[in-house]
Amino acid sequence: MKRPKIRIGVTGLNAIDNPGPGVPVIRGLLEASSFDAHIIGLAYESLEPGIYMHDLVAKTYQIPYPSSGADQLMDRLAYIHEKERLDVIIPNFDAELFSFIKLAPKLKAMGIHTFLPTLDQFEERLKVNLPEFGKKYGMHVPKSESIYQVSDHKKHMDELGWPVVVKGKYYDAGIAYNSEQLAGYFNKISAKWGLPIILQEFAHGTEFNVTGLGDGYGNTISAVPMRKQYITDKGKAWGGIAITDEKLLKLTRHFIKETKWRGAFELELMKNKKGEFFLLEINPRIPAWVYLAVGVGQNIPEAYVNLAMGKAVQPFESFESGKMFVRYSWDMIVNLSDFEKISTTGEL
């Protein structure tokens, strides 16, 4: 049977040491059995490696940074759509999700489907709102406080204790053991990602992650837990293994059921010595290690697109545990003319 061709715009092509999820998402899409994916890359920078992976990406367009506002993004997407007739867009960055969620109805009217969390879901799980989120849905979360000035940390340290995790509102984090280190992280992270800075109680234990997909009605379509085996100095997994911890899967199903989560997500959790899981973060998108989920039998990008297209998707019931991913870097040789084209015309 001939598979329908689906034209999919994908962001997050920055397959660097702190990788965006775009390239692994595309690999999953190209392995989909239910459709034939035609990939259009959406990039912010002209050196995002995915732009030059012509076996994965048919054509790439530069799009404006989220800071330019939703209107500029909409204009650019309208232009791209005119050329490419996109069926689906998968945004893969936290920082761009707000704009895409806002634009989703307009995009739909143009025939471009998305499958994103609602604005309420998106905001409720923000790092600054995590303590309330934990209370509301009965999940353990470490104590945290948002601060707008370095000196504000002093009033929270009795409660939070040292060391403390200093987090940016979207990305970046550091562990501070004293006020000087805290000030250093505060300045570095706030210069890049803005305010507030979140101070989170340091949770001791082993870190686990779960990626999954909720259908928006409380049903779990996919859930694959992973333990990081090799962590880079940026805290990113360079190697990981799929595991079958029933407690983690139960917690994930609870999260999806209670929040009626719509779309993909990644839960970051810490397991303490007593075996209790603490929710550190909820990322409202597909993570960069999603290809492990594809490799163990749950093609999350494929299911995501089918849900976006309004098709009925059967939940995955199992996956193969004990499979690992090992990330690697790869030097591509790129013609200067390609770099010139994307840099000057914003298209390649």
Partner: protein, 86 residues
């Protein structure tokens, strides 16, 4: 005492816990003990088998096996609440 039912042990002594994602390497003696645990042999039987095979003192075997069980417990490879008396 039973080895956790999820644990996978290969002939080469590679021990994998699919719940936690941890993996370990056991030496030949460790493999032997794990194999006996998988066959649900009692601790007395394990002691006896090792005693006959390695011709050493009973107290040495007892101590080494107890140490190994402690390791297995710490790594959640056998049920934490199980004791060496089982």
């Amino acid at each position: 005492m039973k080895i956790n039912k999820h644990i996978a042990v290969s002939d080469s002594g590679f021990v994998f816990n699919p719940v936690t994602g941890e993996s370990f390497t056991a030496n030949p003696m460790g493999i032997e003990i794990i194999e006996m645990l998988k066959q649900e042999r009692t601790i007395a039987e394990i002691h006896e088998t090792l005693l006959q095979k390695y011709h050493t003192e009973h107290t040495t075997i007892e101590k080494d096996v107890a140490d190994f069980f402690e390791l297995l417990k710490n790594f959640s490879l056998i049920d934490r609440h199980e004791t060496t008396e089982n």
